[in-house]
């Protein structure tokens, strides 16, 4: 798997969708890279969170993932 190409495809997908939606299920990322194994995509997404390109949002029961800093909540939650 070409990691850099994968990361680029994920960021482009999220930017394209950013007007209508800011958070996605992990499964949505599998569709961005359909030729890759789901475990590899999962690892790539988690790596992108670690390098702070993406961020998790959690309700407690479900986790969603989006570009860091996007969405309504990001601004409000950064206020300490």
């Amino acid at each position: 798997m070409d990691k850099e190409a994968g990361k680029k495809a994920i960021v482009e997908f999220l930017q394209k969708k950013s007007k209508s939606k800011s958070k996605f299920y992990l499964k949505d990322f599998y569709e961005v890279l359909p030729n890759e194994k789901v475990r590899d995509v999962k690892n790539l997404v988690n790596e992108m969170v670690k390098d702070e390109t993406l961020e998790y949002w959690s309700s407690g029961s479900t986790t969603l993932i989006g570009l860091k800093g996007t969405g309504k909540q990001a601004g409000a939650e950064d206020e300490a």
């Binding site: 789901v38 999962k42 029961s61």
Partner: protein, 437 residues
């Protein structure tokens, strides 16, 4: 004097049972006094504001907590659940009130020194409110602010040697009964297996990996003290394949009243003389036991390991010696679809380190669920949607009689064409020789 008047909450203290309202008030009073001189890192009146916002929710009949959040600790995608209130001006003490799930020790064994360490840390860096324990088994710390998360996490991991638990679409904190440490019914070392799985699947525990939550629970025997059969996507329940060991002298002693049934657990009142027929034999779900000339006889082939007879007469009946575990899959509590109990997948497997056979079953199921599971679909729902047979295919387990709950009721296991000699194609002329149209 309480910061907020809480007449509706106060009613909850009037019943005969212990009240969480009293507990929160107690903690609020303790923080106000601050006898130990703690340098509270979250508002000292956080507990007062919890009571205030809860009272307001009771008045309005709707919540004032917002849904979820982006907070966490670096490198982890679980264990911290963002909680914010929508009335921060009125209740500044709970403007941020995040929940932290902490992995509980195996079998929930604590020393008081360890509990004190945990509580002292939470007094300092949180509200002091705890839930011991959440449904999954975690130590749940309720209420802290965003700046305290990393500080808390550092001290928890470096000073107390404990880790965060799971939340979100992760493997949830594996949970186990006390097992062989204290219990003679344990058929395997639950704590060893639970610890090994917790260590082996750290990535799945701390970072989202799945379509939804996934729970492991390890019960040493079918008494299911951690409710694995009802609550976990994959439950590991101790069992045995040989015979229940019978001490006929002890059976006589129970009948004669020398030993108290249920190890004296219900001895608080006089239930009358112990009646083995009424209290044990007639309650056997498979009617696999009877008295024969003063001796108790068990047809072990019919025994379903319900544990009732062993629980009632523990000095007379003991679990077998050829021990292992059964794996059941698909249980869940009723959040989306209804509640489901686990379905038996592996009737018996020996529990031997490094647990490769068990891990093979786990990972085959995960691969299938990660590929095919819909968003927020639990394993039990996927099994219902694609069929138990599909799960047998992905796990490479052959159908067996133990998979069938009731014969001829719902035969969900079908022959595939490649399993039938000649497949589905027939020579119609040959067929018509013997069967008229």
């Amino acid at each position: 004097m309480a910061k907020h008047a809480t007449p509706l909450l106060d009613q909850l203290e009037s019943g005969p049972w212990p009240s969480f309202v009293s507990d929160i008030k107690q903690e609020a009073a303790s923080r106000a006094k601050n006898v130990k001189g703690v340098d509270y890192q979250v508002p000292a009146d956080a507990c007062d504001d919890v009571l205030g916002i809860m009272e307001l929710s009771y008045v309005h009949k709707r919540t004032h907590w917002k849904h979820g959040g982006i907070v966490g600790v670096f490198g982890y995608g679980g264990g911290v659940i963002g909680r914010y209130c929508d009335q921060p001006e009125m209740f500044p003490g709970v403007a941020h009130f995040h929940t932290i799930r902490v992995n509980q020790p195996g079998g929930k064994f604590y020393s008081t020194a360890y509990l004190n360490q945990l509580c002292d840390l939470w007094e300092l860096r949180g509200s002091g409110l705890t839930n011991m324990h959440g449904s999954t088994g975690d130590i749940v710390f309720i209420g802290t602010t965003t700046p305290q998360l990393e500080e808390f996490f550092y001290e928890l991991t470096h000073k107390i040697g404990q880790d965060l638990g799971g939340s979100g679409s992760n493997l949830r904190t594996p949970s186990d009964c006390i097992g062989e440490a204290r219990c003679e019914y344990a058929c395997y070392d639950t704590q060893a297996l639970c610890y090994a799985m917790t260590q082996d699947y750290q990535d799945e525990l701390h970072r989202p990996a799945f379509p939804y939550k996934f729970k492991f629970k390890f019960d040493g025997c079918p008494n299911c003290c951690v409710a694995s059969i009802a609550r976990s996507d994959m439950s590991f329940i101790g069992t045995w394949r040989d015979d229940i060991r019978i001490d006929q002298e002890a059976v006589k002693a129970y009948i004669g009243g020398e030993f108290k049934p249920n190890a004296g657990a219900h001895a608080g009142r006089d239930w009358g003389k112990f009646d083995i027929q009424k209290e044990v034999i007639d309650l056997c779900p498979t009617k696999c036991m009877w008295m024969d000339g003063g001796k108790l006889v068990i047809d072990n082939r019919e025994c379903t390991r319900c544990m009732h007879c062993i629980n009632v007469m523990p000095r007379a009946l003991r679990i077998g010696e050829d021990k292992g575990l059964s794996i059941l899959v698909g249980a869940k509590a009723p959040i989306l679809d209804g509640a489901q109990m686990g379905s038996l997948l592996v009737p018996f497997i020996k529990v031997e380190e490094p647990y490769d056979e068990i891990k093979e079953v786990i990972e085959n199921i995960w691969d299938w669920w990660m590929e095919e599971g819909k968003n927020r679909e639990r394993l039990g729902e996927l099994i219902k949607r694609q069929g138990f047979q599909k799960m047998l295919e992905v796990t490479g387990i052959d159908p067996m009689p133990q998979h069938v709950q009731e014969p001829r009721h719902n035969p969900y296991i079908f022959w595939r064409e490649d399993e039938v000699p000649g497949g589905w194609q027939r020579d119609i002329k040959e067929f018509r020789k013997y069967h008229q149209r």
